[in-house]
């Protein structure tokens, strides 16, 4: 909201410079976001918090200026309308629902001379960003800015039948507004109507047909209070935000209605030769008297600073509260709020008033006595450790949107059941809460391919969402995507390698091992494009290579991508390996490496499982030392080198006792697996 330095001076004496005043206001909660120097005035741009509609006026800001500078407000000296000049009743006011319009007042002025405003009026309005129209409209706007009560002037002669009806619009009704647009109305919108038609949208904008023109001789000046919620809904529906709607949405001080009307009456008489002939009004709504007890110790308990009684009383009185002391207890104040402070409802609100004026900066800094708390195994700590592990494995963390378009699930998550969707999405890309992280990761891969990033190894840890019957399941998942070429410098030169299954497997094995996950089994998935990782019968992860068509949907061309999604909630809750010390071996091992070539269809797991049974009790372990396809190996075959470690816990083995074991291993390889030894 804009307010000028000189306009404030109409209400309160100011000795501070505009900059110092701006600082003081900011530190009292009226944040001055800009000061603009104009010819002979300064324009302050002030951000008003939503709880303080009373600040949406020059008077409201001036009250605050008075308090922070220790001055008193000047006397307003507004004229009181004399009843004797008034004519007979020529207007009926009807309110359909008092909740929509708690108060409606109208004054009728005759002998109006419409013309341009004097320059002081024009320039003040222009300084606060309001275009000058004519003296009548300018006066209504001036009073709006000064007292925060929006006024509207109708051309009386265009209103049908001496009749004001505040009601909801009928579904078929239309209105052409002052801005020239024609609007279709509905039952949600409150209008001011005459006998036959809507003439204004209540609290937002007047109609074209009844606006004040150069021909206008008589006006009806409306000063009313409209329901904040009704005003907001209509403003949003119509998409028109005005100075008027802004104030009605936040709530009007009933006393401002009288102030604005009196000031308008005075100005209309002075600047437009108007003669007040009629005053009409519905019953003024009662403002509830709210009295709050405030103990001075309570101020200290909340703020941490002791503010003396005189200061507390001074601040509250300055802000317009009526303050008395309890007779028996001087440390307890009895405070009554002014009509414009409906935001104040309890003692803690008063503490805020006292401390913000006293100055937050004067409150000391202390540290809370934080007591140790009950700690449970924390999933966020687990996730944080996991992320560090993945980063150590060379993966880059990404963060993608949790809301996606359901279309990008095609080929990755084909069950459209159980999708949790958003009611009020702004565009299709925000329609559902994702049930999987993988499409978002593919999006990310695609984006990076376009940026010519060759090596894409990324992960994300985030929630996935699924609707299961009437329960929305939210669970932590880890998504991994590999695509492109991993290039590593070695002393033997640059080693370039396309990412493949084994890279993904290596990453997963490393993290499962570190986490201490037991009994991890890989099984081919039902679709056949990847694997499920199970612990006992629980699926904890899905691994897949999307089909070419799926990748094409993401604009990923001529590339393979390898994806994994791990259910972290399950992994977190599964039992983990307990760390137990195993005594170090006392005797040396004998290691025999055996290389052979087998048909590619034979699974290495089957070979090792079998050889473990055959190699006898001295076998400690079998490791895959090397595997190779390609040059020198016939097509359809794979070369494998296994390392056999033999050890006894009782003595040093000699080579002779291992030779028959090795022979047995070779025999099994040749006979059972048709291996060709190398």
């Amino acid at each position: 909201m804009k307010v000028t330095y000189n306009w404030l001076k109409d209400f309160v004496e100011i000795s501070l410079s505009p900059e110092d005043l701006a600082d003081r206001l900011t530190m009292a909660g009226l944040e001055v976001t800009g000061i603009e120097k104009k010819t002979d005035d300064y324009v302050f741009d002030i951000e008003i918090t939503s709880n303080r509609p009373d600040w949406l006026s020059v008077l409201g800001v001036a009250r605050e200026v008075a308090v922070v500078t220790g001055k008193r407000l000047k006397n307003l000296r507004l004229p009181v309308a004399s009843k004797k000049d008034l004519g007979k009743k020529i207007l009926a006011i009807k309110i359909e629902d008092k909740k929509d319009c708690p108060w409606y007042t109208a004054r009728i002025f005759k002998e109006i001379k419409v013309g341009p405003s004097p320059s002081w009026l024009r320039s003040r309005l222009e300084l606060v960003g309001c275009r000058s129209v004519n003296n009548i409209v300018d006066i209504t706007n001036y009073c709006l800015f000064e007292f925060g009560e929006p006024l509207h002037a109708f051309d009386w002669d265009t209103l049908g039948g001496g009749y004001i009806w505040v009601r909801r619009a009928r579904p078929e009704e239309k209105i052409t507004l002052i801005d020239g647009t024609q609007r279709q109305l509905n039952n949600e919108i409150l209008v001011i109507a005459d006998k036959t038609k809507p003439v204004a949208i209540a609290g937002i904008m007047g109609g074209k047909d009844t606006e004040v023109s150069s021909q206008t001789k008589t006006i009806l000046l409306e000063a009313a209070i409209f329901n904040p919620v009704v005003t907001r809904k209509a403003r949003r529906y119509l998409g028109i935000s005005t100075e008027s709607s802004y104030r009605f949405e936040r709530g009007i001080d009933p006393n401002a209605v009288g102030l604005a009307t009196s000031r308008a009456t005075q100005l209309l008489q002075e600047l437009a030769g108007a003669r007040l002939t009629y005053i009409g009004s519905t019953t003024k709504p009662k403002t509830k008297k709210v009295i709050i007890n405030l103990g001075l110790d309570f101020v200290t308990r909340i703020s941490g600073v002791k503010v003396d009684r005189a200061t507390v009383k001074g601040v509250l009185k300055g802000l317009g509260f009526i303050v008395k002391e309890k007779q028996d207890k001087k440390e307890c104040l009895v405070v009554e709020r002014p009509s414009y402070r409906q935001d104040v409802t309890s003692a803690v609100d008063l503490v805020e008033e006292v401390t913000r004026i006293y100055g937050f900066e004067k409150i000391p800094t202390t540290l809370p006595a934080v007591k140790p708390q009950q700690v449970t195994k924390n999933k966020l700590v687990f996730i944080s450790e996991l992320k560090n592990l993945l980063v150590g494995l060379g993966l880059q963390e990404v963060i993608t949107y949790s809301l996606i378009s359901p279309d990008i699930l095609n080929g990755i998550f084909d069950s459209k059941e159980g999708l949790a969707s958003i009611n009020n999405f702004l565009n299709k890309e925000q329609k559902v809460l994702r049930p999987t992280l993988l499409p978002s990761l593919l999006d990310c891969v695609s984006h990076n391919i376009k940026q010519k990033n060759e090596c894409i190894a990324i992960f994300e840890v985030a929630k996935t969402f699924q609707q299961k019957l009437d329960v929305l399941k939210e669970k932590w998942c880890l998504g991994i995507a590999l695509c492109g070429t991993d290039a590593r410098l070695t002393t033997q030169g640059l080693l370039k390698e396309e990412f493949g299954w084994l890279h993904l497997k290596g990453i997963l094995e490393a993290i499962f091992e570190r986490i201490g996950l037991l009994n991890v089994n890989w099984e081919m998935n039902p679709v056949g494009n990847g694997f499920q990782i199970k612990v006992k019968e629980e699926v904890i992860a899905n691994i897949l290579k999307p089909a070419v068509e799926t990748l094409n949907n993401f604009d990923i061309k001529n590339k393979e991508a390898f994806l994994a999604e791990v259910d972290l909630d399950k992994v977190f809750s599964l039992p983990k390996k307990e760390k137990r010390f195993v005594p170090l071996p006392k005797y040396p091992a004998i290691v025999r490496d055996i290389s052979f070539v087998v048909n590619e269809g034979i699974l290495i797991k089957d070979i090792i499982d079998r050889l473990r049974q055959e190699a006898g009790g001295l076998l400690e372990d079998i490791k895959v030392l090397d595997f190779y396809r390609g040059r020198q190996i016939p097509e359809g075959f794979i070369s494998i080198t296994l390392s056999f470690i033999f050890r006894s816990s009782e003595r040093t083995l000699n080579e002779e006792e291992i030779n028959p074991l090795q022979a047995r291993v070779c025999q099994v390889l040749e006979q059972s697996f048709q291996a060709r030894l190398r």
Binding site: V348, E361, K387, L403, A420
Partner: protein
């Protein structure tokens, strides 16, 4: 040359080896013996001139001589290079212009890094890190936080609501149980307070959602860290002290801060916290809009109504809460000018942090 010569060479070898005192001398030594026309080469060239019987014996001797020489060179090299030899540029132990070899590391997203930094400060102060769901109830996100029924932030313009699922859920998910995407991490306050009893000192990091059109400074998804302390005797001065520790840890000891009165329905008194501009130090620049101050968080004393909603006695307990926008802090800290960069995940961007 004869056998005798080989023995002479072997004897001389030891003497000469002793005299090697620099890498240059070692190189000369190597050339003398192992060079293309060195002694070993000369000896080897004699082999064809020898008789069949002499050859293996002679060959073996030459070979063991060669091994002895190689041994000397290796040994001397280790000794001399460990001493270092800064006199010769050619003999640096390593051309340090070459890239080192290591397993490449990935990086945490700058948002994660910022969250970790913030949380670790509070952890050291005795706070616990907790989480709350992203899909919340209207009660936890609004009502429990003293946000009135008709408050604009409840509008579909400001909060994402979930479409009602069929059947029983439809009846259930009305009013206070209606599901939405939390629009602030403050929703976790209500949940945590309902679950636990004071004393409570927690930080809650996480994603939040608001239906804002995406541009350089707006995103419909972003991150916050919520802080909450509840106990007997917690005061506004404790809030000031805690946040001062935080601000100075993140932005440096010299950073000034100010608490500006503000309004939030769930705290009273409420304050926005500004820090002296980290770019210009408070003189005024384009980043701080020539004000010298940057707003970084909202905070305040927990409103008694919030305590009433979660069943705490406001006469007994007081508390403070604060909420930080992570993207904003990361943007300030790293000088990032477009919030969309965080969610585009261009590796060239992510690798800068």
């Amino acid at each position: 040359m004869s056998e005798l010569n080989i023995e002479e060479v072997a004897q001389r070898l030891e003497v000469e080896a002793k005299g090697i005192d620099s890498l240059d001398a070692l190189e000369n030594f190597r050339r003398l013996y192992l060079g293309r026309r060195g002694i070993i080469a000369q000896l080897t060239s004699l082999i064809p001139t020898l008789s069949q019987q002499e050859r293996p014996v002679f060959g073996q001797k030459v070979n063991s001589l060669k091994n002895a020489i190689l041994e000397i060179i290796k040994e001397k090299e280790l000794v001399l290079s460990s001493k270092g030899d800064s006199s010769s540029k050619q003999r640096q132990p390593l051309d340090v212009g070459l890239p080192g070899i290591a397993q490449p590391l990935g990086r945490l997203h700058p948002i994660t890094q910022t969250i970790n930094e913030i949380c670790s400060i509070f952890i050291q102060m005795g706070f616990l890190v907790e989480e709350g769901p992203e899909v919340e109830t209207e009660f936890n996100n609004f009502t429990g936080l003293n946000i009135p029924q008709e408050h604009p932030s409840r509008d579909a313009f400001d909060t994402f609501y979930l479409a009602e699922a069929g059947g029983d859920a439809q009846a259930k998910n009305r009013g206070e149980d209606r599901l939405l995407l939390r629009s602030h991490t403050s929703a976790a306050q209500v949940r945590l307070m309902k679950m636990r009893r004071p004393p409570l000192a927690v930080v809650v990091p996480g994603r939040v959602y608001r239906p804002d059109a995406v541009d350089a400074s707006h995103s419909f998804m972003f991150h916050q860290v919520e802080g909450l302390v509840v106990d007997e005797g917690i005061r506004f001065s404790d809030l000031k002290g805690s946040l001062q520790v935080f601000v100075q840890a993140v932005f440096g000891k010299k950073t000034k801060m100010r608490f500006r009165p503000h309004f939030f329905p769930f705290t009273e008194p409420s304050a926005e916290v500004d820090i002296s501009c980290i770019i210009c130090g408070g003189k005024g620049c384009s980043v701080c809009g020539f004000k010298g101050w940057l707003e970084i968080l909202g905070s305040g004393m927990v409103h008694p109504n919030v305590f009433r909603h979660v069943g705490y006695d406001p006469k007994r307990y007081t508390g403070f809460a604060f909420g930080l926008g992570i993207e904003r802090i990361a943007m300030l800290k790293y000088g990032i000018n477009d919030i969309r960069l965080f969610f585009e995940n261009d590796l060239r961007f992510l690798k800068q942090f």
